[in-house]
Symmetry: C2
Subunit: 439 residues, 2 copies
C-alpha cells in the first residue's frame, strides 16, 4: 500500500460543502436576476494575467499579498486580487467590440495573501457591477436602486444605504483651506465608524488643527432628514460655488429617483461617508444591515472619473459598487435567512431488496417530468438506512414504488419528519402534494 | 500623462464578452437544473492547493502543463488542472461530514499550460458529476440518464451515448492471453476513432501479433442492436466466467433502465469504447452529437474502483462523468442553438432631452415588478443613439414614457426591428405584450 498523503488545504482557503455551496450559489442566482432586470450583462476575465497589467508598469515592488510567479514560459504572472483592475483592462482592450454606456456585472473569485488571523480568507468571491461611459444622475441612481433591490430580493430585513458626494466634501475642504491634507482628512473620516468620533476628532486636530477639526466634525454630522443635512452641507461649502451646487443637484436627483421608486426609506444622506480612496470623485455610498450593523458595509462604491487610464487614453467615467458576498452570506446565516434553494432533492425513491430497477427509475423520471427533484437510492437497503440518508441530505419525503406501480402508476409518499405514510397517489397528485409541501 | 500599458492577455487565456458569457452561464444553469433534479448537490474547492496534493507525494518531476510555484509563505503550490484530484482529496478530508452514497457536481475553471497551437485553451471550464460510495447498476444508469437528460435540456439535437464495460473487455483480454499488454491494447483501441481501423489493426498486430489483433478487431466491432452485440461479447469471453457474467448483467440492467425511462434510443452498446485510462473498471461511455460527430465526445466517463486511494485507506468506488463545457458551447454555436437567455434586457426606457428622471425610473421599476427586464438609458440622447445602443445590445423594444405618464401610467412601446410604435398601453399590458413577444 502506498503512503497516504494527508488531505489538507492551504491556510486561508476553504472547501464549500453542499449546504454552503448551495447557499452561495442561490445567493448569486438571486443577484444575477436583479442585475439582469436592470440591464446589466455578465462578463468574465482570466484568473491569471501578466503581472504588469495587474500591478502597473514594471510591477513595482511586489505587494506581499499578491500571488505572483514566473510561469513555465518565463512570463511574470499573477492571480487577480480584485475585479476592478481586470475590468479596466477589459474595457481598454475591447473598446471596439463594446457599446457605451456599458453596464456589466462580474462575480468571481479573487486571491490575496491576507493575514488569516483576522478571520480573512485568501480566496474569496467578489461581485462587482458598474455603469461605464456616462456621468449622470440616472446612472448613479441605478446603482443605488440595484443595491436596494438586491437587499430586498435577498430578504435581509432592514438596511440603510448611506450616501454622500465627494464633490461636496472636496469643496468644503477647499473652503477650509487644508490644501494637500484633504486626502488624509477623508481617510480619517472614513475610519470614524471603527475608532469612534472622539478619536477621529483628535486625529483630525493633530492633522489640521483643532478649529478645522471642529469644522470637519460639524460637516460630517448627520442631521435629521435629507433637507436639513443638505442645507448644512451647502452652507458649509464656499458660497455660490458652481461645483458644490452641481454636486448638491446630483444628490438631490438621486434621492428624487429613490423617492419615486419607493426606496427612499432605505436611503440616508450621510456626510461622514467618504470611502477613503482618491479614486472616487462623485457620489459614494455604503450599505449596512439593521440587524447586523457591526459587520460593516455589505455593499459600497461610488462614482469615479476615469476607469482605465492605465491602459488607454480614452476617458471612461463610471459608477459602480461591490457586494461582499462572503460577508453577506455570513450575515444571512446569522439572521437565519441563509438560502437553501437548489440544495436538496424533494423526494428520495426508496430502494428495497428485490425492487425492479426499471420501475424505480421510471417513477423518478415521471416525477422529474412534472418538475419534482427526485433521487433514486442507488442500491437495495433497509428503510432505516434510507431514513438516515434522507435526514443527512435534507430530503423531506420518501416515495415507495408499490408492487403494482407498473400497472397502477401509484406511489406511497412518506413524510419523514412525521413518520407518516400517505395513501398511494398517482404521479400528478404526488407532484402537486410535493410542490405544496415545499412552499 | 503616464505611459500606457498595452492591454493584453496571456496566450491561451480568454475574456468572455457579454454574449459569450451569457451563453456559458445559461448553459451552466440548465445543467445545474438537470443535476439537481437527479439529487446531485454542488461543491466547491480552492483553485490553489499544495502541489503534493495535486501531483502526488513529493510532487514528482513537475508536469510542464501544471502552473506550479512557491507562494509568499514558501509553500509549494499549484493551480488545479482537473476537478477529479481535488474531489478525491475533498472526499478523504470530509468523510466525517458527508454521507454516502454522495452525488455531487462541480463546475469550475481548471488550468493547463497546453500547446495553444492545437486550438486549446490554458484556462477552461470543467463540469464533473459523480456518485461515490456505491457500486450498482442504479448509480451507473443515473449517470447515463443525467447525460441524456442534459443533452435533451440543451436541445442539441440527436446524440448517441456509446456504452461499454471494461470488465468484459478485461475478461476477453485475459482469454486472449495478452498479459501485461492489455493496457496498451485498450489505449490503441481508444485511439481508433482518430486514426481509423486499418491503422489500429496494424498497431495491434505489432503489439500482440496478427491473430490476437484480428480477435480484438472482431471483439470491438459494433453489431446491429444490443442483443447481437451482447451475445458476441459473452461468446468471446472465457466460457462460464463469473466476472464476465456479472459485467454482462450490469450492462443489461443499465440498458433496461434506459429503456424504461425512454432513453434507449440514445444509448448504444459499443465494444470499441475503452476510455484508455487504467482508472476505469466498470461501465465506460462517450457521447457524440449526430450533427457534429467530428468534434468527438462532449461527455465521457465511467466507473472506477477507488476514488481517493492517495489520501485515505477508505475504499470509495464510484461512477462519474465530465462534460466538456467549452466544446459543447462551441457545438451549440455551430448548430445554431447557442443560448442567449440571461443576456439582454427586454426593453430600453427612452431618455429624451427634458425627461423627468423620477418618471423614467418609476416606469422601469414598475415593469420590473411585473417581471420585465427594463433598462433606463442613463442620459438624455437623440432617439437614433438609443436605437443604435439597443441594436448593439440586442434589446428588442424601446419604451417611451409619455408626458402624461405620471397621471395616466401609459407607455408607448416601439418594436425596433419593425420601426413601428404601438398605441400607448398601461404597464400590465406592456408586460403581457413583452412576455408574449419574447417567446
Amino acid at each position: 500500500m502506498p503512503d497516504i498523503i494527508e488531505p489538507r488545504l492551504l491556510k486561508g482557503f476553504r472547501d464549500f460543502l453542499p449546504e454552503a455551496e448551495s447557499a452561495r450559489s442561490s445567493l448569486m442566482r438571486k443577484l444575477e436576476n436583479v442585475f439582469s432586470s436592470f440591464g446589466f450583462v455578465p462578463i468574465d476575465t482570466p484568473v491569471l494575467e501578466y503581472a504588469d497589467i495587474l500591478l502597473g508598469k514594471g510591477g513595482g515592488e511586489t505587494d506581499k499579498q499578491v500571488y505572483r510567479f514566473i510561469d513555465n514560459g518565463g512570463r511574470d504572472v499573477a492571480l487577480r486580487f480584485d475585479l476592478t483592475v481586470p475590468f479596466a483592462r477589459f474595457m481598454a482592450q475591447h473598446t471596439e467590440d463594446l457599446y457605451l454606456p456599458f453596464r456589466r456585472y462580474h462575480m468571481a473569485k479573487v486571491w490575496r495573501g491576507e493575514n488569516t488571523q483576522r478571520g480573512r480568507y485568501r480566496e474569496f468571491m467578489q461581485c462587482d457591477f458598474d455603469i461605464v461611459g456616462v456621468d449622470s444622475a440616472s446612472a448613479d441612481a441605478d446603482i443605488v436602486l440595484v443595491i436596494a433591490s438586491a437587499m430586498e430580493a435577498l430578504d435581509v430585513g432592514g438596511f440603510i444605504i448611506r450616501v454622500n458626494h465627494r464633490g461636496l466634501f472636496n469643496r468644503f475642504l477647499s473652503r477650509l483651506g487644508v490644501g494637500e491634507k484633504g486626502s488624509a482628512v477623508l481617510r480619517l473620516v472614513d475610519k470614524m465608524e471603527k475608532v469612534g468620533s472622539a478619536v477621529t476628532r483628535e486625529s483630525l486636530a493633530a492633522e489640521i488643527g483643532p478649529d478645522a477639526a471642529d469644522s470637519v466634525m460639524e460637516f460630517i454630522r448627520r442631521e435629521e432628514g435629507f433637507e436639513p443635512t443638505m442645507d448644512k452641507l451647502v452652507r458649509l461649502c464656499p458660497e455660490g460655488d458652481a461645483l458644490a451646487a452641481e454636486a448638491g443637484k446630483r444628490l438631490r436627483e438621486v434621492f428624487e429617483i429613490a423617492e419615486a421608486t419607493g426606496f427612499s426609506r432605505s436611503l440616508s444622506l450621510d456626510p461622514s461617508i467618504t470611502r477613503g480612496l482618491d479614486y472616487y470623485t462623485g457620489i459614494v455610498f455604503e450599505t449596512t444591515l439593521q440587524a447586523l450593523p457591526d459587520i460593516g458595509s455589505v455593499c459600497s462604491g461610488g462614482r469615479y472619473n476615469d476607469l482605465a487610464s492605465l491602459y488607454t487614453t480614452k476617458k471612461l467615467p463610471g459608477v459602480g459598487s461591490a457586494i461582499g458576498l462572503d460577508r453577506l452570506l455570513a450575515a444571512l446565516e446569522i439572521i437565519g435567512r441563509q438560502e437553501k434553494l437548489g440544495g436538496s432533492p424533494q423526494v428520495l425513491i426508496a430502494h428495497p431488496e428485490g425492487a425492479s430497477l426499471p420501475s424505480l427509475h421510471t417513477a423518478a423520471a415521471g416525477l422529474r417530468s412534472l418538475g419534482v427533484w427526485a433521487e433514486v437510492y442507488p442500491e437495495p437497503r433497509k428503510m432505516q438506512i434510507h431514513y438516515a440518508y434522507a435526514e443527512k441530505k435534507g430530503i423531506p419525503y420518501l416515495a415507495q414504488v408499490d408492487a403494482s406501480f407498473e400497472s397502477s402508476g401509484l406511489l406511497s409518499i412518506r413524510i419523514l419528519a412525521e413518520r407518516r405514510t400517505l395513501d398511494p397517489m398517482d404521479m400528478k397528485s404526488v407532484a402537486a402534494f410535493l410542490s405544496k409541501g415545499s412552499t
